[in-house]
């Protein structure tokens, strides 16, 4: 579901995940909705997966629509670290 090198964005409500998906897809960014991996804890069961290369653009788009509260995690060697 999440490959090494991928990022996962988690949010605090399903509504916000849906909003994020909508604005990111409108920007034609290659994102996918996935269930939250068990290593991460989220208030909401859904997360958004994308490659690291899209990270800056994604943060920019999310911030523009008031979703800057999302946590973005990066998977490396099987473990996740929070990208500040």
């Amino acid at each position: 579901m999440v490959d090494d090198g991928d990022c996962v964005a988690i949010f605090h409500s399903i509504h916000r995940v849906m909003k994020a998906e909508k604005v990111l897809k409108a920007e034609k960014l290659a994102v996918l909705l996935i269930p939250v991996p068990r290593q991460l804890s989220s208030d909401c069961g859904l997360a958004i997966r994308f490659p690291l290369s899209l990270r800056n653009k994604i943060v920019e788009v999310l911030t523009d629509v008031g979703l800057e509260g999302a946590e973005i995690w990066h998977k490396q060697d099987g473990t996740y670290s929070l990208i500040p």
Partner: protein, 394 residues
């Protein structure tokens, strides 16, 4: 059998736009529930719910769609607002035009130490004065001003413009019951400056029964009325902090919301101004026809521009129930008679306890329907064989 004519749109609108029926059927066949699981069907359900909220935000010009909480009807939305907000010692100012959906929760809250002040509307126009509301608010420290935007009994539109801004200057919260206005009048939450707005999805919004919403302004936090699963935050025994999920426990009415979504798309497409104009165009012959009939007493504003589509009248000393019965049985016309769940509104205009005959056209009503209704009333007025044993009640 005469062609049925539905003139009870103030209770629930009928028919719905064609797309509403299709949307309900379509979603019901697809399965899955919004926010319950991550499979494709659940995701498309969650997207549908999200899109419905976005459309509401567009229709009402709200900054953030996450402040719209879906409920089963207006009543649940109003209960969530009042029980989620008020505590012992709070004071609420409201009007004599409220539906029992407001009056009864407030009555229950009175028993919990909340003070309720009802400002009485003008007995002829049915309009409550903005100055009287302000005066009542300033008489003692007030937490909430709650106004029914448009009377469900006699259509009187209330002067809500400007009240929101005024309330905020005085540190009072402002709530509108938009049950009879949402979808039929242009409403802008930024200008109206509402903190809370409740509406059903099944009246002027033209969606299915079992839908409604509460809008909660950004700065406001409510205690949930209902506790349970939200499909998220499952490890915790506390409700989520975030709206809308915080106030939306339990499986949502997905078919209903799919229908509501199609209905709002229809409204946005046609335009609320056009819908309102249609209402006015139907009200004109209806009001004129009733005014010209001997023995008819018409309640509420005579000017269509000052009213919504709920029109109330009485005919001489006829029992309204009898007229409703004749219309139904002999003419195949559906109206609502009696108190329409708003006894205070009837006390205000002097039609308590026998009530009125309420006729409420909708977007799909035709001029011919109005004409047939007027002819039916004329026929009833001419027959004089009625049972007037209720005359003494008043």
């Amino acid at each position: 059998m005469k062609k049925p004519i539905y003139l009870d749109n103030a209770a629930t609108s009928h028919p719905k736009p064609e797309a509403v029926y299709r949307a309900v059927d379509d979603v019901l066949r697809k399965g899955a529930s919004a926010g319950r699981g991550g499979h494709q069907q659940a995701l498309s359900a969650a997207r549908l719910v999200f899109e419905t909220r976005e459309l509401l935000a567009e229709l009402f010009n709200a900054a953030d769609s996450e402040r719209f909480v879906f409920t089963a009807n207006a009543t649940t939305a109003i209960n969530q607002a009042l029980f989620g907000l008020l505590a012992a010692g709070d004071r609420v100012v409201t009007t004599s035009l409220e539906h029992n959906a407001v009056t009864r929760p407030l009555r229950a809250l009175q028993d919990r130490g909340i003070e309720v002040v009802k400002v009485v509307a003008d007995p002829v126009s049915g309009i409550v004065s903005a100055d009287a509301l302000k005066e009542a608010c300033l008489a003692a420290r007030t937490r909430l001003l709650l106004v029914n935007h448009c009377s469900n009994v006699y259509g009187a539109m209330q002067p809500v413009e400007g009240l929101g801004g005024w309330c905020h200057q005085h540190d009072i919260l402002f709530m509108v019951d938009g049950s009879q206005s949402a979808g039929s009048f242009p409403i802008d939450f930024q200008t109206l400056a509402v903190d809370l707005f409740a509406a059903p999805g099944h009246k002027g919004l033209l969606g299915p029964q079992g839908t409604g919403f509460l809008y909660v302004a950004e700065s406001l936090e409510l205690t949930p009325l209902i506790y349970g699963g939200t499909g998220a935050n499952s490890h915790s025994d506390l409700p989520p902090e975030e709206l809308p999920e915080r106030l939306e426990c339990g499986t949502l009415n997905l078919p209903g919301l799919a229908g509501l979504k199609a209905a709002i798309e229809f409204i946005i497409d046609v335009g609320v101004m056009q819908i309102r104009q249609r209402e006015i165009d139907l009200l004109k012959p209806l009001l004129r026809g009733l005014q010209q009939m001997a023995g008819v007493i018409l309640y509420g504003p005579a000017d269509p521009l000052l009213r919504g589509a709920a029109v109330s009248f009485t005919l001489r000393d006829y029992d309204p129930a009898e007229i409703g019965f004749i219309l139904d049985q002999e003419e195949n016309i559906s109206v609502r008679v009696g108190l329409q769940c708003a006894p205070d509104a009837h006390r205000t205009i002097g039609t308590y306890p026998q009530g009125t005959i309420r006729v409420s056209p909708g977007y799909f009503t035709s001029e011919t329907d109005i004409e047939r209704f007027l002819q039916a009333i004329r026929r009833i007025a001419q027959r004089g064989d009625h049972d007037d044993s209720t005359t003494g009640v008043r």
